[in-house]
Structures are given as C-alpha cells and as structure tokens.
Symmetry: C2
Subunit: 365 residues, 2 copies
Amino acid sequence: MDGNALTPRDVRDRVRLIRSGNVGPVVFRQLLSRYGTATRALEALPELVRKGGYQGTALCSADEAEDEIAGVEKLGARLLHFDEPDYPPLLAEVQAAPPLLTVLGKVAMLKQPAIGVVGARNASAAAIRFTKQLSADLGAQGFVIVSGLARGIDTAAHQASLPAGTVAAMAGGVDVVYPPENQGLYEAIAATGAIVCEMALGTKPQARHFPRRNRLISGLSRGLVVVEAAMKSGSLITANYALEQGREVFAVPGSPLDPRCRGTNNLIRQGAVLTEGADDVLANLPDWQKRPAPAQQQLVLERKEPEADDDSRRSVMEKLGPTPVEVDELIRQTGLTPEVVLTILLELELAGRLDRHSGNKVSLA
Amino acid sequence: MDGNALTPRDVRDRVRLIRSGNVGPVVFRQLLSRYGTATRALEALPELVRKGGYQGTALCSADEAEDEIAGVEKLGARLLHFDEPDYPPLLAEVQAAPPLLTVLGKVAMLKQPAIGVVGARNASAAAIRFTKQLSADLGAQGFVIVSGLARGIDTAAHQASLPAGTVAAMAGGVDVVYPPENQGLYEAIAATGAIVCEMALGTKPQARHFPRRNRLISGLSRGLVVVEAAMKSGSLITANYALEQGREVFAVPGSPLDPRCRGTNNLIRQGAVLTEGADDVLANLPDWQKRPAPAQQQLVLERKEPEADDDSRRSVMEKLGPTPVEVDELIRQTGLTPEVVLTILLELELAGRLDRHSGNKVSLA
C-alpha cells in the first residue's frame, strides 16, 4: 500500500486507529496487516478487545480524528504515515517506529543525515558553549541536528544549528510548545527546520511521553551525542534507545566533581565514544554511505484472521506473568501456532492487559 | 652478591661507576656482571671507552664518590643498591631499574603498595580538590601515594597523603628541593614518608632529568592516576612509562574546553581507566596479591670478557644509524655472536656514541 494512494477515509481511519486506546505502533501494524485497511481494523477492534477480556472500548471517534486532521492542516503541518515516501528512512528501520508523525516545517529535512545532540536541562555554561560549537561544526559538515527542545543543552543545540538545519522532536502535540519560554525557538525551527511529534494535536506533554520523544530523537539520527547528563537522566534513556537502534553513542567527558558529568562519564566507561568535538563524531560514525538504501516500507498483508479459542487463551495466560518473556518462548511452551499466539497477544494488548518490551518480549500489565 | 655484604670500597666504587660518564643502568649492570665488582669494572673502563672510539674519560673520582657518600650520611639519607633487600621490589622488576637510589626518610615505605598520582602544575582548583580526596581515600585503603613534588597536582597528592604515607621522587639530588616553595612539604615528607632520587647529591634538576624521575614514579607504583594533563605534558610521559612497565593507567576525565584535560581525555580514549574516584582505582588494579613475590634481584655473573676485533666493530657500526634498531636484529644481521655485539655496544655506549631505547633497541647518538 503506497501512502500516496491513501483516501481521505483511509487517513481518517488510520488516525482513529492509532489514537484509540492500547493501540501502539506494534498493534497498529499488526491490525493493518491483518485487516488490510484501518477501516476494517476499526470494525474488528471492539470484538478483539472483548476477547482480550475488557468490556469497554476507547475508540477514537471519527469526529475526533477529523478535528485533528483539520487542526493539522490549519497549522500548516502535515501528517506523515510510515508507508509514505517522505517518512524518514532511518526512523522507518527502527523496531516499532511510529506509524504516524505530525510534522511542522520542512518535511524534506527529515531525510537529511542527522546527528542527535542532547543533554542536561541545567547544563553548565561551558557545556552550553561546547554544544553550540559542536552543533555549528556538525552543521557545517552537512548534518542536521536533532534534539528535544528542552532547556539547556537541547536549546543550545537547536539555536546553533538553525542556519544549517535543525529538527525538534516534541513529547506532546505539535501545537503544544514546552517549555513555554522556547516559543520563539519553536517558531524559528518551524520556519527553517522541522518539528516532529508522535502524539495527537493538543496533547499536553506528560512524563510518560518523554521516553517516546527520546526514542524519536535517536531514531531520526545516525549518532547521538550526550553533552552533560546526570545519572538516571532522560538523556541516558535516549542513549539507551540509540544503542537499541544500532546508533553510535558519543559522550562528552567532564569533571567527576560535577554530577552533571556522571552520566556522560559512565557512558564512556561503557563504551561510548569519548567526544571532544565534531571530529570525534565524524571519525566514528557508522559508514552509512556504504549501506544499501533502506527499501521503502511496505505493508505486508496477512489477510488471515485465525480464531483463538478459550483453551488457547487460558494456555497463553498461564505462561504470562509480570516478568517479560519472549514471544517465541511462549509459542514453544504453549505448542500453539504463531498465528494463534499473536492473535491472543493482540487481543490482550488491546484490552490493556499486556505490556511490550524490547527484544520481542511481553508481560502482563 | 648480597648488598649486605658490600664493603665500603664496593660501595664507593659502585658510586664511582654509576656516576661516571655514559654509565646508565643497563651499562652498569653489564659491567658489574662482566667484571664481578665495580672495582674491577672501573679498571676496565678506560680501555672500553677507548675501543668505543672516544679519547677522554669522564670517570667519577674516588674523592667525588666519597664526598657523596659522606654527604648522604650527613643528611641522614641512605644509598640503596639494586641488589639490597630494601630495594623496592616493584621497581626492581622494571627494565633498566636504577642501580642506585638515594633515599631520605622511611626506606620501608618503598615496599608498601603504592599508587602514583600525577598531573598538571597549573591544575584547576577542582582538580586540586579531586586529587586531595582521591589521595586521602587511597591512603585510607592502605596505599602509599607516589608523586613528583611538583606544583599543582603533585603537591596536592603529597599533602593529602602525608598522614597515610607519601613518597616523593625527585629529578635532582636528594638535597636539592625543587620547586623551592615546596621546602616545607619536602621536610614533612622526609619526616613521615620518603624522598627518592636517582641522581647524585647536589644535582640541580634539569629538563633532561625529569623523564627519569617520571619513570621512577611509575616504577614504584602499582598503578598511575593522571588527574589533569595537557597534551605533550610530563604526566603523559609518566603514563607512557607506566604502560611500558605494565602498570595500570587511570585518567580523570574533564571538559574538552579545558586544555588541561586534553591529555587525560586522550589517555581514556587510548584505553586508560576512566577514573572518578578511589573506587575506580581499587576495582581496576592488577591482582598483585595473587602474583608470586618477586625474587630478590641477584647479579648474574657472566665473567666472560669476549674480545671484539675491528672488523666486528665496523660491521656493527655499518648497521647502526639514527633510527633505533633491535639488538637481536643487529646480532642476526651482522652474524656475530651475541657476546661480541653486546661488548661492542657497551663500548660505544660508554664512549657516548650509543643511545638506548625501550624494546631493547639502540641507535647512534
């Protein structure tokens, strides 16, 4: 299915589907490949949820979806589907890539080679200075800088890369500027770069949204530079995503006496590239030039609707618990077919009873 | 030969031999093993120098040696020979270990487990603070701190380790305090720790002496911590010696904007342990406990005096140039016996025409 061929109804129902309760990127793709279109997936949803053991449904209504689409258009922003040619190709390779992005600004910038630059909100003056120099230097080498519009390092990275190209990934909706003092920077980025969001228009960013924003930053980037980061900070979460996604992680060293350097020093200890400037980044980037261009994402239609019976559901439930277990392991241990196990997991997830983890693991919510 | 059995004449002639021109640690041992005693080596020296192609001799006179011995005694210091039981065992294992040390203070402290702590003379206030904390913490864990009595990091390391034990290696004679402002610290170390020197009493430290002082610091230590160090600084020379000697190198990270952190960051990039405190040092020390205690150094007497003829000398000279070459390679390429080649090299070195390099390499001076 080519995104160019999406009808207004396809678009509306894809928006409805991804905004419905318990539909994450993995479920969205499963539903789309199983039912062929979002429209048919929406029709099937209530029954799947019911089988998963939940009575209510949290379907996004047609009105809500239409309001979002109209709002995006009014802003001059654009909805970008995972199977459209403009979808950023590096992000498309990421496991559970967002099926739908909202982009304000230059969509084409999302296809340029990019480096993520992130770090502490309460960064030191020296780190701010370093970030600006690094971002400008990488920009001069043709790299777009991706960051998260936060205070401190993020702000410095965006400011210094406005001339060469900058992309801000935000945790909330594309129209909700956070922090508010970055309104001016947001407008400048929208005018010369791009703002990218996974959440619906109008979404106020909450703590639980930030990991997905961080995953977007690393997913859009060939490498991630962490400038100053305390232990257990959001920047380290971004670094973990970068590693999961096979991106090179760069960390800037700092004094052991400064808690804002603990996280970055620890990254270096764990194998991140010690980074004193753009040269260290350029010298250690994976050789993307030599990689074959990733194929445009295509939806593989399964068109199968295997029915799962109650015995099978009981059997899968027995094997599940709070500890994440591999789906392959579940299939082996239950002796059921993969199709049946995947169907049951899909139902459970839609019912809000299943959590997905990296490494294709699942656990009871 | 046991150092306890040294007669006053042995001691005097050993001092004469090591203080004579072009007699370094390697030549000293070769001469001692060849001639059995320093007395006999001194008798043979003029003829060896002449064969090496040099007319004059720079023999240390008996008077000079006796003056040095008397001066050392008067200071309350002590001469320590490489084959005496009190000689620091870790240093004894080092290639070309100094055959003679002058020690002021507690000789026994040289046998305690030690960590070298070195760094920039113009260190930052933060690095000074870090050094004091680190040195005190390592002291509390039973380690003596070895440093070079220089300004900055060295001074901080000594000051903080005075209570637990500190050893200063100096570039000049044991009676020449450098820098002069450290006179008080020097006296405190002499009273509670130890001052160690390789050079003769009264020697004013010159630039060329410092690498040997640095080699002494690393040779006395199980590991070396470099706190702040610019590129091409003396601390990096010490780190190189430490690596040559098989010691673990620890480096403290710092801001890329501070030139005083360039050397340490670069050490980390090259594999030094990123160090934020004493825990990092303790967790990464080689497991010395499990090593067999090094055997007391014994002089292996060769008692051979192979004669080299002029053809052999020409043959060796032809193969030598300004580029260092391995002695084994010389032996192979000349087809001469090892004894003859070593004799010729000894003569050349005594004549001031040969330089020795690490890896058993030699070049024309």
